[in-house]
């Protein structure tokens, strides 16, 4: 039973990108075009490609969770299978190619779609917990199969291929990273636009309706099961495209593309970004990829920070990072965003100090507990000190507590400013 309430998952239809304005899409395209001129190293390109793939995957996941209200613990299956099949298509064609690489994602999408049709046939009969549990079961089964069926999945080594072996595309062999980047970027735009437009179609709207109130939708002539199934298939199609893009970028697919950790992390990504918004998964994917790749260069306990971030997002900002941005739209429209500048500025320093010192507490504790005996010296924010001494820890704790109290003290001011900023009228008097 769906009892309608204002849950974050049902926030629905905020239109951050209005259809009649192609402007955001053009900006996005231009942005994607110039990005490799700003970040031109190989690793930056790889990370941007990884981001783009995660965006497509997360958007396809949000077709289920955000738009369809289906919580899946096994979405990696469709991306992974799409990727594996694309890789096999690539290898099968390499002797006698008749397409060029940019068309490979179509195959990935079709295979993702095929499996979504098959599995969705029984898994979408019900929503809610039953769907979530079936997705978990299917996810486990397919991940286990990938180790057992070696001939297809390649066992632990996975399946690899060479992307340069297909036909050249206007002189591009797709050996260099930059060419692959543009291929990925174009597909990102195609897939994102496709998914955005899908949400404006009758089936896309009805998917929202079924999410909010499946019973009502049934009495409007729509089979909730068919609606979920169709959404599921569309989602599987785009996940398959993401899988093919993965195959092109990394030229290898392994069990990790199918396992539950991958399925779980896409839930994390999507929720972090905000499931109620079309751009939510995009923001989530960018932030998550940066956190995962960059943060892990600086600290060993990055996963702990990620866990804290995720749990506090669920607790305090159930609309995700995008929700945090979106609440500023109203003050912006009212022309009162300036009311918030001063309280925000006041809170900025304690907030930054608070976060950094809290992280410092964790880092010092962790270092003191796990570093080698000769390695008492640790380096944090450019300061070198002895992690086993009490003083740095005390300083960090004092700073953290002090900034916490400062924030508590400043909170009423912010709240008042918020009330003022979101209150209609009275601004231009």
């Amino acid at each position: 039973m769906s009892t309608p309430s204002s849950t974050p998952l049902k926030a629905g239809t905020q239109r951050l990108i209005p259809l009649n304005h192609a402007l955001p899409w053009i900006i996005a395209a231009v942005f994607l075009l110039i990005l490799p001129y700003i970040f031109d190293s190989r690793s930056a390109l790889t990370i941007m490609n990884q981001m783009a793939i995660t965006i497509v995957f997360a958007l396809s996941y949000n077709m289920l969770l955000g738009q369809g209200g289906m919580l899946s613990f096994g979405h990696a299956v469709y991306m992974g299978l799409g990727g594996f099949f694309s890789m096999h298509v690539l290898n099968w064609m390499s002797d006698d190619p008749w397409i060029s690489l940019p068309f490979l994602p179509i195959f990935g999408g079709l295979f993702g779609l095929m499996f979504a049709i098959m599995i969705g046939a029984f898994s979408t009969r019900r929503a809610g917990t039953v769907f979530a549990m079936i997705s978990l079961g299917v996810g486990e089964l397919v991940a286990a199969m990938s180790v057992i069926i070696v001939i297809f999945f390649g066992g632990e080594e996975g399946v690899s291929g060479d992307r340069t072996e297909l036909l050249d595309f206007f002189g591009m062999s797709f050996g260099p990273q930059r060419q692959v980047y543009y291929l990925t970027a174009v597909w990102l735009l195609i897939a994102a636009l496709g998914m955005y437009l899908y949400s404006r179609t009758p089936i896309g709207r009805i998917a929202n309706a079924v999410r909010d109130n499946e019973e009502r939708a049934e009495f409007l002539g729509y089979s909730q099961r068919h609606v979920r199934w169709i959404s599921f298939c569309a989602s599987g199609f785009f996940a398959g495209i993401a899988g093919a893009l993965f195959a092109i970028n990394f030229e290898i697919l392994t069990e990790e593309n199918l396992n539950l950790a991958t399925s779980g992390s896409i839930l994390l990504v999507t929720f972090l970004g905000g499931v109620g918004f079309f751009v939510g998964p995009i923001i989530g994917a960018i932030v998550f990829t940066l956190l995962q790749t960059v943060l892990s260069l600086y600290t060993e306990i990055w996963a702990l920070y990620l866990g804290i971030l995720f749990v506090s997002t669920v607790m305090f900002f159930p609309f995700g990072l995008t929700g945090l941005l979106a609440i500023h739209i109203q003050p912006w429209k009212l022309g009162k965003i300036s009311h918030l500048v001063v309280p925000y500025a006041k809170m900025f320093i304690p907030a930054v100090v608070g976060v950094l010192s809290a992280a410092a507490v964790l880092e010092i504790l962790f270092h003191a507990r796990h570093a080698g005996l000769g390695e008492e010296e640790m380096n944090l924010y450019g300061i070198t000190f002895d992690s086993h001494a009490a003083m740095p820890l005390i300083i960090a704790i004092v700073l953290a507590v002090a900034s916490f109290f400062a924030l508590v003290k400043l909170a009423p001011g912010l709240k008042a400013a918020w009330d003022e900023a979101t209150h209609m009228g009275g601004a231009k008097q």
Binding site: P4, G12, R200, T201, N208, R216
Partner: protein, 252 residues
């Protein structure tokens, strides 16, 4: 008499050992405004849910325009031209008022499961939805989120969604529940207006509404129909008075 819009034949429904509907026979003609009344727990909602396909009958049949629909799913029955409202307001709270109505239109206007139309670009949809908003007097609320509407407005929207699809059989489950007198009058007018030339089946506690609207009334007591006739005859029936109406009539 031509084929009835709805016909119930020996309809039965049990939940475990409890037999809620015990052998109901009823014919409701085309264009008729038929009210079902009865004390609390008589099984009115269950009967509604049996006709609309939410429940599967334990025994007996539901026929719609002569076709057996018992055991069909709600959406199949809806597609054959039957639409219902709910006792507890059942709208899409997070969508705008306009979108609520539009959702009610999509199937019947042939968009079905389409993923090649952009809903915003379909002028026929927009026009029709606005027309219905006009009918239910919610044009001024068009772009509000439905959950933010006042209660009476939500009830009106509920009826709007119900009739949007153009079904020729409309079933309303206590459309006036929880409304003030003046609101009730407005809703009754609305119901009369939007169900013109349609078959209407209505469950309602407010006897004033019933006698105002209905062509015929069926009285359901303990899962059985004890009387089914014109309002005058039902009002006069001693059996009904004994079993149910009694003082209520005078009060109304």
């Amino acid at each position: 008499m031509s084929v009835p819009a709805i016909e119930l034949r020996n309809l039965e429904k049990s939940f475990g050992l409890a037999k809620i509907i015990q052998g109901v026979n009823l014919k409701i003609g085309k264009g008729e405004r038929h009210a079902i009344i009865g004390p609390n727990g008589a099984g009115k909602s269950t009967l509604f849910n049996l006709i609309t396909g939410k429940y599967t009958p334990t025994a007996g049949q539901v026929l719609m325009h002569g076709t057996d629909v018992s055991g069909m799913k709600p959406y199949q029955i809806n597609r054959m031209g039957l639409s219902r409202s709910f006792q507890i307001t059942n709208i899409f709270h997070n969508m705008t008022v306009f979108e609520n109505v539009r959702c009610g239109l999509l199937w019947s206007m042939g968009y079905k499961y389409s993923f090649w139309h952009m809903v915003n670009r379909q002028r026929d949809l927009t026009e029709k939805a606005d027309e219905i908003l006009e009918q239910i007097n919610l044009s001024s609320r068009r772009n509000m989120v439905a959950g933010a509407l006042a209660y009476a407005e939500q009830r009106a929207l509920e009826i709007g969604i119900t009739i949007a699809g153009g079904a020729d059989i409309i079933m309303l489950d206590e459309p006036c529940a929880g409304m003030s007198h003046s609101e009730t009058d407005l809703i009754v007018d609305l119901i009369r207006k939007v169900t013109e030339d349609k078959t209407l089946i209505i469950v309602e506690h407010d006897m004033g509404v019933i006698f105002d609207l209905a062509d015929r009334i069926s009285v359901l007591v303990y899962g059985e129909i004890i009387e089914s006739d014109t309002p005058e005859k039902v009002r006069a029936s001693t059996a009904v008075q004994e079993a149910y109406l009694g003082t209520t009539v005078e009060e109304a």
